[in-house]
Symmetry: C2
Subunit: 144 residues, 2 copies
């Protein structure tokens, strides 16, 4: 995988992958910016990677997902390099499937398939998950 970006002072680090959306990461010399920081990107990538698995697994089970949201709650270490200390991924789903289907999809993702979250976990981040299915909490801060 080859990717590149360049620095535009006052704007940020701008991706150069022509066929893809442009990503702009924040300029470290700016205090107020709407740009996303690299650490936020990592946390989004953990949730996005796992969500790709969950959506794929449920779709292969021929389950109908009515709505799907994720809330991420992350904490960094207080000492440099301030790596991720903990991340909770809260899957909030509505659809025509059972608790067992939801739990199976999330477990398969976090234990077997989600490369970004598994790398972060191996790197020392404490990874947990919560699941709310059709308004009911079926898992809360479980160890991944």
């Amino acid at each position: 995988m080859k990717l590149s970006f360049h620095y535009e002072p006052g704007n940020g680090f701008v991706s150069e992958d022509k066929g893809k959306d442009t990503l702009i990461m924040k300029d470290p010399l700016l205090e107020n910016t709407t740009r996303i920081s690299p650490t936020e990107l990592l946390v989004y990538a953990m949730g996005g990677c796992s969500s790709a698995d969950v959506v794929l697994i449920l779709s292969r089970m021929r389950k109908n997902i009515k709505s799907y949201r994720v809330e991420l709650d992350a904490e960094r270490e207080s000492e440099d390099p301030k790596t991720l200390k903990s991340v909770n991924i809260h899957y909030i789903m509505e659809g025509d499937f059972t608790k067992e289907n939801a739990l199976r999809a999330v477990s398969l993702s976090l234990e077997k398939y989600c490369s970004v979250s598994i790398l972060a976990k191996r790197g020392g981040a404490h990874l947990t998950y919560s699941i709310t299915l059709n308004g009911e909490s079926i898992a809360k801060n479980m160890e991944a």
Copy 2:
């Protein structure tokens, strides 16, 4: 840090951080999409996190950066969960500073400050760097 996103089938996973740019990660059920994947985001985050350090460190040294680009070359493991196997960060800079300044900024970042790259390295990714300063290669595939 609290972040969230929701799934829009046919579009992707759409971030909900109101004060920030919208990030859309690819829909796993689509083959052709301009959206960025979570693994690509992780690789961008590694380069972006380190670049934030390098720009900050050089600016604190009161050095003038004329241009700054990064090329990332990443490889994934072939077996699930296909975590990052290796990442080379190639810093391509032009400016009024010495090789020693550039090497110092990059080393400080990759050894001490860049939380995303250091987490990935702890998680098993083989991290290397190359530096081209004012058209001259001053480091090539060095261990980070």
